[in-house]
């Protein structure tokens, strides 16, 4: 007799399936993928770079037939290309920043939650103190300390954003550390580090995915916010923040400079928020 067992699905597969059924979230994933792909690969299609000035087209308006379909800025630099290049930086910092901040937060929280006792109190005390700091101030000061530039900006943003994942994971780790399988692992002779890495961290995965997805828009927003103020990424390198800033300065004569980067940034943030909502609905059992 042929043994027919229904193919069993893991919780993770079920969650993914639930996420895939969320139409708004799937549209957002597709749109975000499209924007990301055009930001990363689009610039290669241009015969010039975003820092090349074209003196025949200075402040050119939108003209789909010309070599600069969305026109140029006051220096004759291609606007579309600059926006795409800016998106590359913003998206890269956003995703890498969220992953790094999430990684630090998860590890910190897992260690604190599993260790408990005095270690936990001390580690969480530090988090509390950092939480008491005004976030912007910290980012601004840190990006000054690291001397400006992309890496400095990245470090400053990561340094301020790992706190929330740390707190969330710590709560999870605390309840996990009292479960039987952790006790079994301890009885079996695993070292604390092995337990943290092999049992605590993987079991926090769904919480991390949900909150990590909220980190990405936060990092992107921080980056563009700082660049807008003139502290983050500086000219001539483009970023959505400093492009919007340039656009603001010229808004009474030429709205295009403000609208193109502004709309793209808003679109990306929309998508990321919808994706985060979708992930929360699919992964967070408390919300059902």
């Amino acid at each position: 007799m042929v043994d027919i067992t229904p193919r069993s699905l893991s919780t993770f597969q079920l969650q993914l399936r639930r996420f895939a059924q969320n139409r708004l979230a799937m549209i957002s994933v597709a749109l975000l993928a499209l924007i990301a792909a055009s930001c990363f690969f689009g610039p290669f299609a241009f015969p010039f770079t975003g820092e090349d000035a074209d003196f025949d087209f200075i402040g050119a308006p939108i003209d789909l037939a010309s070599p600069h379909p969305f026109g140029t800025d006051d220096f004759g630099r291609d606007l579309l290309l600059r926006v795409l290049e800016g998106g590359r930086i913003s998206l890269a910092i956003g995703f890498l920043g969220a992953i790094t901040a999430g990684f630090i937060g998860v590890l910190y929280g897992a260690v604190a939650g599993y260790a408990g006792g005095r270690t936990d109190r001390l580690m969480m005390r530090m988090v509390e103190i950092l939480y008491g700091f005004p976030y912007v101030i910290l980012v601004i000061l840190l990006s000054l300390l690291f001397g400006g530039g992309n890496v400095a900006l990245f470090a400053a943003i990561v340094f301020t954003l790992w706190l929330t994942p740390a707190v969330i994971v710590r709560a999870q780790a605390q309840s996990l550390s009292k479960r039987e399988f952790v006790e079994a692992a301890r009885a079996g002779g695993m070292t604390p580090w092995q337990i943290v890495l092999e049992h605590i961290v993987p079991n926090c995965a769904s919480v991390v995915i949900v909150y990590g997805s909220l980190l990405v828009p936060e990092v992107i927003l921080s980056e563009s916010f700082l660049s807008f103020l003139g502290i983050g990424i500086k000219e001539p390198q483009a970023s959505w923040g400093n492009l919007i800033q340039t656009g603001t300065a010229a808004m009474d004569t030429d709205l295009r400079l403000l609208l193109l980067p502004g709309i793209l940034l808003a679109l990306v943030l929309f998508c990321l928020n919808f994706i985060a909502d979708g992930l929360r609905d699919a992964f967070d059992p408390n919300d059902r």
């Binding site: 008491g132 700091f133 000061l141 000054l144 502290i231 919007i244 603001t248 919808f274």
Partner: protein, 307 residues
């Protein structure tokens, strides 16, 4: 209660002390100095200027001097605005920032709660969708994009309001307040809607209805009281968002508040001004969080004691 406030104030003081220390040393370690952007001046003059601001002393001595000044409520002189002390500059900028921040919170709380209630009472109707869309827009579109767009539409095209500045009384307040409150309207309406829907299912609400209390009275006296708790809990931390926002708003709308002062000071390495504003922001944050917890404890006995 008194013990609770005392403990929180003590913790707040510790946080502030850590903040002052960190900010002080981060500022000094950051490359550049307060006078590195000046026109070329002779080394002797520079020496004299540095000596006048005690910048020639070892860093720990400067730190001790600063802390000693703080204990006497002396924030020191600004290194950029000659003849102004940090206290003067903060006193001149703070009223603008506080007015905008205060009204932004008021508008956000009122509009956000109203939208949230409307959405929860009329779930899945056009009202709910409009409130939902507004919520998503407020969260996703950064205020430094919305702000300039408002300026283009309401100031440049329609000519209803001034583009920026602060010289036209309430008229110059409208746009900054509105734009600053938008993200908070979004958060608060989402929060209110969610917790209203949850509270409407609570047993005590059903009991109130079963006792024959009218729908309106149940809503006002019973549901709202429970549903607004998370909203009130959010108001404290939202101060941080208002601070972030006000820095942007003051830049976009050219308001001479302390947010703009802070960015300029940080860029120009005006050490004492940066320190003073950081301290002020930190203190504001702590005070608002304590106030929030107090109000919560007052409304919800379950939140007392473990806060």
């Amino acid at each position: 209660m008194l013990r609770f406030v005392g403990r929180r104030l003590w913790e707040g003081t510790l946080t502030l002390a850590a903040l002052v220390t960190l900010t002080f040393f981060v500022m000094r370690l950051a490359p550049g100095g307060p006078f590195s952007k000046n026109r070329k001046i002779s080394p002797e003059v520079l020496e004299h200027i540095k000596a006048a601001f005690h910048l020639d002393e070892p860093v720990w001595q400067q730190f001790a001097r600063y802390v000693w000044g703080l204990l006497h409520f002396d924030f020191g002189p600004s290194t950029r605005f000659r003849d102004y002390s940090v206290g003067d500059l903060i006193a001149s900028g703070l009223p603008y920032s506080l007015t905008i921040g205060f009204w932004a919170i008021v508008v956000a709380a009122m509009v956000g709660v109203a939208l949230g209630i409307a959405g929860a009472l009329r779930r899945n109707t056009p009202t709910d969708y409009v409130a939902g869309i507004l919520g998503v827009v407020g969260i996703a579109v950064p205020i430094f994009v919305i702000g300039p767009l408002f300026q283009v539409v309401f100031a440049l095209k329609l000519n209803w309001l001034p583009v920026g500045g602060s010289d036209q009384g309430w008229r110059s307040l409208v746009m900054p307040v509105l734009v600053l409150s938008l993200p908070n309207i979004a958060y608060i309406s989402r929060l209110t809607r969610g917790s209203m829907i949850e509270t409407m299912r609570e047993n005590y609400v059903r009991t109130a209805r079963a006792k024959g209390i009218g729908a309106r009275r149940t809503l006002m006296k019973h549901t709202l009281k429970g549903a607004l708790l998370p909203v009130i809990a959010y108001l404290g931390p939202s101060t941080a968002g208002i601070i972030t926002g006000s820095i942007l708003i003051e830049t976009v709308f050219a308001v001479p508040g302390i947010g703009r002062h802070f960015v300029d000071a940080a860029l120009n390495r005006d050490y004492p001004l940066v320190m003073g504003i950081t301290l002020l922001y930190g203190a504001l944050l702590i005070v608002f969080n304590i106030l929030t917890d107090l109000v919560r404890g007052w409304l919800d006995p379950r939140a007392r004691g473990n806060g």
